[in-house]
């Protein structure tokens, strides 16, 4: 069973602000899910390499040439807040 502290730590890592009710629900549900996943530990995978990706592709480079790029106005069109040609955010320091 996950502890309330672990849930809070994971939520902070994920940048989620959870209500007390959510913390308790996720604590219970994540514990359930992880319990169900315990059968993975029964498998001996000592000498098995991990597969992160199925295609045998490596280092897909493109030519080092200037291509087309999107106009600044288009890039900023969806900004919740902007000032001149910048995304505007609350105070950082």
């Amino acid at each position: 069973m996950l502890s309330p502290k672990e849930v809070e730590h994971v939520a902070l890592l994920a940048r989620l602000k959870l209500t007390d009710e959510e913390k308790e629900t996720y604590r219970r549900q994540l514990s359930d899910i992880l319990d169900n996943f315990r059968k993975l530990q029964d498998l001996d995978t000592e000498n098995i390499p991990p597969t992160a990706h199925v295609l045998p592709l490596q280092n897909v480079f493109r030519e080092d040439r200037v291509g087309g790029h999107m106009a600044v106005e288009k890039v900023l069109a969806n900004a919740p807040q902007r000032q001149d040609n910048f995304f505007k955010v609350p105070k950082i320091v």
Partner: protein, 484 residues
């Protein structure tokens, strides 16, 4: 028969022979939407004016004597996680409720080049996380066969639209079964191509090593035609596979004599509804009668696929969804104090419960101290699952089983129990972990609900599964059934 229930290849002939116009066809589909979508709720956004303009252009081209490409003038519904320039793309999330993409996904460019007509953007589980369309932040979509039931998910809106005649073709995306399972629940054809076949450029990322865009259609011929349009290498997607793309319709010969088909015992065992099993057994008999050599086989690590998947997919999602911070696009909380507080408030208010659950699970699996026990372990199990398939394909050309262990369930039946909900993907998600192509075709009914037959091929074996699915379809009438 009304226009909106015909297949794309039938409609193409009618367009070429000037029996109908693209504008007429588009209007027929919108009339159907006006009549039904209050009840089905397949669409988040309709693009009526743009559609009629596109249709008029097709009619003008025809009048000017131009030859019409195979899918010109055919109305298509697009899942709302595929970027459409100038048209809201929400992922059925509050987080992107106002997002208007400044560019098109590669598949949209290809559909436009093929002169198809976009009808609108379809509802889905939020960020494609779910198996029932109930996780949409806006509203649930209903199954056209029984409106108290779910259409499946996450591409539930696309599957429901095709099944109800609200579009002739649709695009979905499939990370663990999200095209095939709703196709099964709604009685339509749905295909997840081999990983790397269809560009992911402009598909809002869920789990990047598993996501693929694919077709939802009324029959296998339409599936091959739509795959022809959307597949092929794309320099904008570094995981796009360089391969020679065939004409997929060339595989639709009707001849499957001598084809070797394996039935993994794990797909016909415990946990599979008995009525579903009966339909699949009949389908096996049909394929045998057509000359296929069907035999039992085994994929011994099947039971480990579900936990491996539900660690890998959330881990990738937790990383992919880190971009939603309220800075550059989408929702931003008004309550924010400093910038970190703004990130946290925005994410807490913008994401729904299942998305948060998966971000939490993925973050946990990747966090210091648990990475080896969970994430890396799951990647090693992924290797074992892939090896199971490699071994099976030494003896068989393709594998077969049910697409889902059950038929469409009632809304609300599984929402409170994530483990039960995740079980619905048990037959489909191994395929994503191994990167293989698979198709779901209507195989019959259990009561008044459709059952899908899943055919799984070798990497880039789309031709094999289309050939077998097409041969099966030619001898059955299931794909000609429509909901009342």
């Amino acid at each position: 028969m009304d226009l909106y229930y015909l297949t794309a290849h039938q409609l193409h002939n009618m367009l070429v022979n000037k029996e109908i116009s693209a504008v007429e066809l588009t209007k027929s589909v919108f009339a159907r939407i006006d009549k039904l979508d209050d009840r089905i709720r397949a669409f988040v956004t309709l693009t009526r004016e743009q559609a009629l303009q596109q249709a008029q252009q097709v009619d003008n081209a025809r009048a000017a004597g131009e030859e019409l490409p195979a899918l010109a003038g055919i109305p298509v519904a697009i899942k709302d996680n595929i970027c459409t320039v100038g048209v809201r793309t929400t992922c059925s999330s509050k987080m992107l409720y106002n997002y208007i993409p400044p560019y098109n996904a590669t598949v949209m460019e290809r559909l436009n080049d093929a002169r198809t007509i976009m009808v609108g953007k379809t509802n889905m589980d939020e960020f494609a996380m779910g198996s029932s369309c109930e996780n949409s932040a806006f509203f649930p979509t209903c199954n056209p066969w029984d409106t108290e039931r779910v259409p499946g998910g996450s591409s539930g809106g696309s599957a429901a639209a095709v099944a109800a005649g609200e579009a002739v073709l649709a695009l979905g995306s499939d990370t663990g079964g999200s095209i095939r399972q709703p196709a099964s629940f709604c009685g339509v054809v749905g295909m997840k191509p081999t990983y790397g076949t269809v560009s992911r450029y402009g598909l809002v990322a869920f789990a990047s090593s598993l996501d693929q865009i694919g077709p939802l259609t009324r029959d296998v011929t339409d599936c091959a035609l739509l795959l022809n349009v959307i597949c092929g290498h794309d320099p904008f997607d570094s995981t796009s596979a360089p391969y020679d793309k065939p004409d997929y319709t060339s595989f639709l010969t009707g001849d499957i004599k001598g084809m070797k088909i394996g039935v993994p015992v794990e797909y016909m065992g415990e946990g599979i509804d008995s009525a579903v099993k009966e339909v699949i057994k009949k389908a096996i008999a049909v394929l045998s009668n057509l000359g296929a050599e069907v035999a039992e086989t085994t994929l011994p690590h099947t039971e480990h696929a579900l936990p491996a998947y539900y660690l890998i997919a959330p881990a990738e999602a937790s990383s992919n969804l880190a971009r939603y911070d309220g800075v550059r696009y989408g929702y931003r909380s008004e309550k924010a104090g400093d910038v970190v507080d703004m990130f946290m408030q925005t994410r807490s208010e913008g994401f729904g419960p299942e998305v948060k659950r998966r971000i939490m699970l993925g973050t946990y699996a990747l966090s210091a101290g648990y990475y080896d026990a969970y994430y890396n372990k799951a990647l090693k199990v992924r290797t074992l699952i892939k090896q199971d398939f490699d071994q099976a394909y030494e003896k068989f050309d393709l594998l077969l089983g049910p697409t889902a262990p059950v038929t469409a369930f009632k809304r609300g039946e599984k929402v409170d129990d994530p483990v039960q909900m995740y079980m619905v993907d048990v037959c489909t998600l191994s395929v994503n972990l191994a990167g293989l192509p698979a198709i779901s075709v209507p195989a019959g009914m259990a009561g008044n609900l459709p059952v899908g037959l899943q055919l799984i091929g070798r990497p880039f074996g789309e031709g094999d599964i289309l050939r077998a699915a097409h041969a099966f379809e030619q001898t059955t009438e299931h794909h000609r059934k429509f909901p009342e």
